[in-house]
């Protein structure tokens, strides 16, 4: 349930607000809902990973991956080992890690916030 709420609220919020709004959203919802620290982390990280992967997948396939490959070209010129990795999975993974870690850590902080005041 926490997972669904975070997914929906952050989808709507990110449409109007900067990307980092996922942090306070995960924090607040997990402070309110979560029973365990791991549960908070998993729900928020999972929700943002799902949302970002899903939306990025949609945008990327609409564009035949042209933008993604250009960005990949830019990064691999500066960070050489990226050259040897398959572009699509690598960059989707990087993105998922960024989004899920920000959300997951914020959710954990939210859970501990609640515990502190309990």
């Amino acid at each position: 349930m926490t997972y669904i709420i975070i997914l929906i609220v952050s989808a709507v919020a990110q449409y109007f607000l900067p990307w980092w709004v996922i942090a306070p959203i995960a924090f607040a919802i997990c402070a309110w809902k979560s029973k365990t620290a791991f549960g908070a982390y998993a729900a928020a990280a999972g929700a943002i990973a799902t949302l970002w992967l899903g939306y990025a997948f949609y945008l990327n396939s609409n564009n035949d991956g042209i933008m993604l490959h250009k960005i990949a070209g830019l990064f691999s010129e500066n960070i050489k080992f990226l050259k040897n990795l398959p572009v699509t999975p690598t960059y989707f993974l990087i993105m998922a890690i960024i989004g899920s870690q920000v959300a997951g850590l914020s959710a954990t902080a939210g859970y501990h916030f609640r515990q502190f005041f309990k």
Partner: protein, 820 residues
């Protein structure tokens, strides 16, 4: 314990979020960049994306229709001129905003604000040149012309209407990667954009290098090796054309024509050399030479090729005009194009319009300088640089004399510690304050006949261009045009004396006495940046223009051409014949030939069989081009070092070198002065350079075979991203050509727009394309969609609409702009 857990997890979460939301050195803010809601994913345009069918915008007076064709070229139908230029600004911003702003940052010396330290030297140079300052004054003067002011303001309003509704997620991806935001547009920025063109096309000088050669070898050698007119030329205005005017008095050549360089002085100039690759071709054949009986006009301006592309195609239709052509992002109107009745195009005029004066200051404060027997006050300006990544801004003091700004580079800055410091002031046509250049295009866009063309040209200042023209009244014409200084012979060939009034620029060639020709007997007009005229023209324009090979080839082919069609002119644009090889290869081969061991060399045999065309797959072209480069280096680098830091010079022209090879085979210049007890002969340097060429080609490309040594592989044309973002350009484009070839495609330069227009009493037929695409978005299918066709030398038929109601399968969609 609970508190500690909370604090630690909060710090971790907040820390990570913060870190991902801000750039780290060159790495952009990764969280924002990767977020699919805001970051680069949002720039991934879907295949045939068009804006919504209706746009409500503040700033239009009436409804505007924009029809997009299958190449995503917008055709703008407006009910008044204001709305047309407003819409042009809006559309260019939509497709090219980042590029437009980048040019203005470059011209005003502000690049380091967005890219940091690495652009600082370039910025210092641009600021010292004073382009930003000049742009402000140009606009102040220009806006007294009501039309000029209205056009520029309408255009700026359109750009700003686009910027205003931009959110971060829709920003061009370059802003996201580099990490900055667009600023408001203004007429001043359009002028800056034009300044950028003036700098690219007119911003080179050989004065300092020539002065070095003069002080080392004396006037006789310089006169011999650096003549004022080449032995081999085919000037733009055909030889023998009568000058139908009474020339004004040309200033007398003063007794002393150069500055007296003191030997204690070390000036290092970072001013770029005159660059012959930045040239262009244009021509028009008259009705008697064409299959239709009416003129056909062709133009291909050569510039450094970039993505987003230099040009943007558009049709603008209002009650006062209906014009189609190539536009410059950042500037209103069409620069190279056609309408129902006329077509026109431009190539660069290589006249000497940037001169340097040696200035003697009274003391280190540089407040006064010696001029005409007395101390004269300089003016001073402090330039401030905000550099990304630097906590404090930097300052640079720029002094100006009545000639112009004092320009020297950092190396010499440190050296100016003497009691009587010496500086160099620059006089440059690009800093001229009256600048209604855009009005020339405004009137050309609306021109109906030859007289309109002549009138339009009077508005043009700089960079001087060869304006070719053709009309459906069967007139053709070409005019090297712009503001040209009235000089004594050889004025500004060397650094001049800033204290001597006779060395000042003393006026201008009357604009109606600029060289021009209308309907010449030979039935065509053409230009390829060569000398504007033969030496009978009463005024001195400069001593070094682009080498004549392209001009010679174009003129000999047009000479023979009968019943010319669009396709015959298109083929000429793609002509790869090497005129230089025709002239000199047999001579060089004969020298090699004398030694039987050379004739067995496979490289020799390849050259012997070569068809003298720089086609993409030719190995002969690879060897020849490398060889003459090597030969020129070996012959001249010892005596006229180009790369010498202290006293750089320039080589005599290739034309002069070939004259020497043929007529003066025992000239002392063939000797390598660095070998003490040996006297090298022409034979030695020819053999040596041939061997060195083969060795260096082998080293770089492996042993000779048709694949690795193919000309296109070795030349390897790249179209890089304007901001040098790796992965955003296109590399190794397969095509032929070369610097002295009509198809002037080199490593980085080439035809930036190719156009052929067949005039007609009814409706013209036009063809064209450029190596890129309409969209500046690297993720758009229209970012680089014309490159492959361009490389093959094909052209697109341009869709020139008669009215907005015209039906065609080429129409992709229509957008209306409605007044808000």
């Amino acid at each position: 314990m609970k508190f500690v857990k909370f604090i630690i997890s909060l710090l971790a979460a907040a820390g990570l979020t913060y870190a991902l939301n801000r750039p780290l050195g060159a790495v952009p803010a990764l969280g924002r960049l990767f977020s699919p809601f805001e970051g680069f994913w949002q720039n991934g345009e879907s295949k045939l994306a068009l804006p919504p069918t209706n746009l409500q915008l503040e700033g239009v007076m009436e409804e505007v229709d924009i029809i997009f064709d299958d190449n995503r070229v917008p055709h703008v139908f407006a009910k008044n001129d204001h709305d047309a230029y407003f819409t042009q600004g809006f559309l260019m911003a939509r497709d090219r905003l980042w590029q437009m702003e980048f040019y203005t940052l470059a011209a005003s010396g502000r690049l380091s604000e967005v890219v940091g330290e690495r652009a600082l030297e370039l910025d210092r140079y641009s600021r010292r040149m004073g382009m930003a300052d000049a742009a402000k004054k140009v606009y102040e003067n220009g806006k007294t012309n009501k039309i000029f002011d209205e056009v520029l303001n309408a255009y700026a309003a359109g750009v700003n209407a686009y910027i205003k509704q931009l959110k971060y997620k829709n920003l061009p991806v370059e802003y996201k990667i580099i990490g900055y935001q667009p600023e408001e547009w203004s007429p001043y920025k359009t002028i800056l954009m034009m300044m950028n063109m003036r700098n690219v096309l007119n911003g080179g000088s050989d004065d300092f290098r020539m002065s070095n050669a003069l002080s080392k070898y004396g006037m006789d050698v310089v006169k011999d090796l650096f003549p004022n007119y080449p032995s081999n030329e085919s000037p733009i205005i055909p030889t023998g054309t009568k000058w139908n005017f009474t020339p004004v008095q040309v200033p007398a050549v003063p007794a002393q024509t150069t500055a007296t360089l003191s030997t204690s002085e070390t000036v290092a100039f970072s001013v770029p050399q005159h660059s012959p690759e930045i040239g262009s071709n244009n021509w028009a054949v008259g009705g008697e030479k064409s299959a239709t009986g009416l003129p056909i006009l062709a133009n291909d301006p050569h510039l450094q090729l970039t993505l987003p592309s230099i040009w943007y195609q558009m049709q603008l239709c209002t009650p006062t005009m209906n014009v189609y052509g190539a536009c410059l992002p950042g500037a209103p109107g069409v620069v190279i194009g056609f309408n129902k009745d006329v077509a026109w195009g431009v190539t660069n005029v290589g006249s000497d319009v940037m001169d340097f004066y040696q200035i003697k200051f009274k003391d280190n404060s540089k407040k006064e300088y010696w001029y005409n027997g007395e101390w004269k006050a300089t003016s001073m300006r402090v330039e401030e640089f905000v550099v990304k990544g630097r906590p404090e801004s930097l300052k640079d003091t720029v002094f100006s004399t009545h000639h112009g700004p004092i320009v020297y580079n950092s190396a010499s800055d440190k050296n100016i510690n003497q009691n009587v410091p010496v500086g160099h002031a620059m006089r440059w046509v690009a800093l001229e304050k009256e600048g209604t250049d855009l009005m020339a295009f405004y009137y050309l866009n609306r021109a109906k006949n030859y007289d309109d063309y002549r009138k339009a040209l009077t508005y043009y200042v700089a960079p001087a261009q060869n304006f070719v023209f053709a009309s459906n009244q069967n007139d053709i014409s070409i005019t090297p045009n712009g503001k040209l200084p009235l000089k004594w012979k050889e004025q500004g060939k060397f650094i001049m004396d800033g204290s001597n009034p006779a060395h000042d620029w003393q006026g201008w060639i009357p604009v109606d006495q600029n060289p021009t020709v209308k309907n010449p007997a030979r039935g065509f007009v053409s230009s390829a940046n060569q000398f504007s005229t033969d030496p009978t023209y009463p005024y001195y324009l400069g001593w070094r223009f682009a080498p004549s090979e392209r001009a010679i080839r174009i003129n000999e082919r047009l000479e023979k051409m009968q019943k010319a069609t669009v396709d015959s002119l298109r083929m000429l644009q793609n002509d790869n014949f090497n005129v230089e090889a025709r002239r000199i290869l047999p001579v060089l081969m004969k020298i090699l030939n004398a030694d039987s061991s050379e004739t067995k060399n496979p490289a020799y045999q390849t050259l012997a069989k070569w068809n003298m065309k720089n086609d993409a797959n030719e190995v002969g072209a690879t060897i020849f081009e490398r060889w003459i480069k090597e030969l020129r280096y070996i012959v001249f680098e010892d005596e006229f070092p180009m790369k010498d830091l202290k006293s750089p010079m320039t080589y005599p022209s290739r034309n002069r070198m070939w004259d020497m090879v043929v007529k003066e085979p025992t000239a002392k210049w063939f000797d390598d002065v660095s070998t003490k007890n040996k006297q090298e002969t022409l034979q030695d340097v020819v053999k040596h350079s041939f061997k060195a060429s083969i060795d260096s080609l082998t080293l770089k490309h492996g042993s000779m075979n048709p694949e690795n040594w193919a000309w296109n592989k070795v030349k390897s044309t790249d179209i890089n991203h304007l901001g040098r973002l790796p992965g955003f350009g296109r590399q190794d484009i397969p095509n032929g050509g070369g610097a002295g070839i009509v198809n002037a495609t080199t490593e980085l330069n080439g035809p930036s727009w190719r156009m052929v227009v067949q005039l007609d009493k009814g409706w013209p037929k036009a063809y064209g394309l450029y190596p890129g695409g309409q969209s500046g978005n690297p993720a758009s299918p229209f970012y680089d969609n014309m490159i492959d066709k361009w490389a093959k030398g094909e052209l697109n038929e341009l869709f020139f609409m008669k009215s907005k109601d015209e039906k065609s399968s080429r129409i992709l969609g229509t957008v209306k702009i409605i007044k808000k």
